[in-house]
């Protein structure tokens, strides 16, 4: 352990534990949560570790409270996070919206399980991907990352904190039960070697500060409570000072346009993908989370059969990698999209392919991962074999 209390070295830990450790390495010093399988291990690790690093762990009365406490803590100056799964994620949607509207940096982890409703608490699902995109009411853009391994649970949690500070917005880590509960070797780099994006503070005196006026990249600097700025922060449509402007379509247009643009216009900076064999591909398997990892095996089998199949892993699910899919659609026959739901990200792939390439969904209801041969059959079908 380093002087900051963060770990460093090689560890054999679960994805959930790696996520908690990444929070600590990223400087998160506030965790509010509510127990829920399969995300509970993140809370348990935080309850154990926060005292080591001078941080706060609090178990709230429900997920509504957890999400709000995280927002409050962010305005109190802390880097803050919470973790949950499907039913809790539903409860957090209300105040995810408050976080987006008030441009509050924080990280919300969803270790997805089988749904709908209580569903399969201990077993995997990927059915919350569209909820991540659209689950809170109103027009907005969101950032969501999908880890495929415990190591990525670590790396992408760091990334989630950085993006949340850089774009002053909540960031979702859309993990799944398989990745959360999987135990593997995780390398935790020294904190000093991590690139951490600091909260950008105002450089002007309070009377000139506009907490909701976009500066660099459309993102305002953020003063926190107790710093003498006399902030007003509201979930109502507001002007650049933060004052309610509830009878103004102009204020709504200005605010929403900026909230959306600060993500859309910076998508090249935000979106990350990983790929193999795209160069010669006539079929591309597009996947994320545990399914991206599962897909590698059938792709290798297909390639051994002589099929030209590529692999595209969406590290960033939202904003969607639409420029890349459009470009690939112009030169491949088909996309195969295995996901542990009945078609969510596949709809986005299909939208961006815009008829230039076929999109084949490989649905799976959840409870376990895809059988590799099911994906292999889909690849063969897509390749016309």
């Amino acid at each position: 352990m380093t002087t900051t209390g963060a770990l460093q070295g090689e560890y054999f830990i679960s994805g959930d534990e790696a996520c908690a450790e990444a929070g600590i390495s990223a400087g998160c010093r506030f965790f509010a949560g509510y127990p829920i399988t399969p995300a509970t291990e993140i809370a348990e690790r935080m309850a154990e570790r926060m005292p080591d690093v001078g941080g706060v762990y609090i178990q709230m009365e429900d997920e509504l409270a957890s999400m709000n406490a995280v927002l409050g803590a962010a305005w109190g100056g802390a880097k803050a996070m919470t973790a949950t799964s499907g039913p809790g994620f539903s409860l957090m949607m209300e105040n995810l919206g408050l976080g987006i509207m008030t441009e509050t940096p924080c990280v919300l982890v969803n270790v997805q399980r089988g749904g709908p409703s209580t569903g399969l608490p201990t077993l995997v699902g990927q059915g919350d991907m569209m909820q991540a995109r659209w689950g809170s009411h109103g027009p907005y853009e969101i950032i969501a990352l999908c880890p495929s391994s415990p190591q990525e649970m670590f790396d992408l949690t760091i990334e989630a904190f950085n993006l949340s500070e850089k774009y002053r917005t909540p960031v979702l880590l859309m993990a799944d039960e398989a990745v959360g509960h999987m135990t593997e070797r995780v390398t935790i780099p020294p904190v000093e070697s991590l690139k951490l994006y600091p909260r950008r503070k105002p450089t002007v005196p309070p009377e000139q500060y506009r907490p909701f006026e976009g500066e660099a990249n459309g993102v305002p600097a953020m003063a926190c409570a107790g710093e003498g700025y006399h902030l007003h922060v509201t979930g109502l449509t507001h002007d650049e000072r933060g004052y309610p402007a509830t009878s103004s379509a102009d204020a709504q247009a200005r605010l929403i346009r900026r909230l959306i643009a600060k993500i859309r216009d910076n998508r090249a900076d935000i979106i990350r993908t990983e790929s193999k064999w795209l160069e010669d591909a006539e079929v591309i398997v597009v996947a994320y989370g545990i399914s991206a990892r599962i897909a590698l095996w059938p792709i290798e089998m297909a390639r051994a059969e002589g099929l030209r199949v590529g692999w595209l892993k969406l590290i960033t699910a939202w904003p969607f990698a639409e420029d890349l899919i459009r470009e690939l659609a112009a030169r491949v026959k088909a996309f195969v999209v295995p996901e542990i739901n009945y078609g969510q990200i596949a709809l986005e792939v299909e939208r961006c392919a815009a008829g230039k390439a076929r999109t084949l969904l490989v649905p799976h209801a959840g409870g376990d991962v895809h059988e590799p041969h099911v994906i292999l059959e889909a690849i063969r079908g897509a390749a016309g074999r």
Partner: protein
């Protein structure tokens, strides 16, 4: 009130006679966002009085306003956060308390005050209310209770007395209300008081005590809503409602909050009901 050290402007009457000297400044200006005024509250509403008492109590408490944050939920009272010249947060409906909890724990130097209404804090936010009280969380919660949902036009609240009429109980409420003082006390609050907006000095004193009390302090402020509650219940003006408070309220410090139910036409027991020493949430964390 006119301060001698401030410039004043003579107000001219239409007939040319000078009427009075009125200060262009208000003694509370430094604690209010003047650029947000006038406020949205109706004539006869008690919210202005509640806010004024709070600001006076804040001054009296000696707390540094730069280290005070006000958190509100949604509703008429929820708009308080928008008028105070302090760090202020107008959150989602019912969620002021958990937001305030995060704010306080992230920066324990702040004095965090939740200022919201009965529907917000006790109906949709009821679970947060009892849990913050249970934890003895270091927050001051001011609940302005007007027995009705004002912002949405006068619907039934969890505080509406049995038989009282509202737009969603047009023939009289056939339901039991919460007794907020009892609820707070039973849930673990270290400080519980109730006043009406008629009792300005006592209310102000209680608010000052609450601000300085470690742990969860709760002040219920019974407030007129002539526009909606009054209209539905034969008290059409703020003055009539204040007269009603004068006639019906009984000051009884240390009263058992279980005996302090509010009924239609019944006594309103007011006073300081609870003021006990018990470790606050932050004190307990120190071990």
């Amino acid at each position: 009130m006119v301060r001698q050290d401030e410039p004043s402007t003579p107000v001219e009457r239409m007939d040319g006679h000078e009427l009075a000297e009125v200060s262009p400044q208000h003694p509370m200006d430094r604690l209010l966002r003047r650029d947000r005024l006038p406020h949205i509250w109706c004539p006869g509403c008690g919210l202005g009085t509640a806010l004024n008492c709070f600001l006076n109590a804040l001054i009296q408490s000696g707390l540094d306003p730069d280290q005070v944050a006000v958190v509100s939920g949604i509703g008429c009272t929820g708009r308080v956060a928008g008028y105070v010249a302090m760090d202020s947060f107008h959150t989602t409906h019912g969620r002021a308390i958990p937001f305030a909890t995060g704010l306080k724990l992230a920066n324990p130097k702040l004095k965090v005050v939740v200022f919201s209404g009965d529907g917000d804090l006790i109906a949709i936010g009821g679970n947060h209310f009892i849990h913050a009280a249970r934890r003895n969380m270091d927050l001051t919660v001011i609940c302005v209770n007007n027995f009705i949902y004002g912002m949405t036009g006068g619907q039934l609240a969890p505080t509406t007395p049995t038989d009282a009429r509202t737009s969603t109980s047009p023939t009289g409420n056939r339901d039991h209300p919460f007794n907020l003082a009892y609820l707070a006390a039973a849930s673990g609050a270290a400080y519980v008081a109730r006043w009406t907006t008629l009792h300005v000095r006592r209310l102000q004193r209680s608010l000052c005590e609450a601000l300085l009390k470690p742990g969860f302090s709760f002040v219920e402020v019974i407030s007129p809503c002539p526009t909606l509650y009054g209209r539905w219940n034969k008290q059409r003006s703020g003055l009539e409602q204040m007269q009603y408070y004068k006639d019906q309220s009984v000051i009884e410090h240390g009263a058992d909050p279980r005996q302090a139910d509010i009924t239609l036409g019944g006594q309103i027991v007011v006073g300081k009901f609870v003021d006990i020493a018990k470790p606050s949430y932050l004190e307990l964390q120190k071990g």
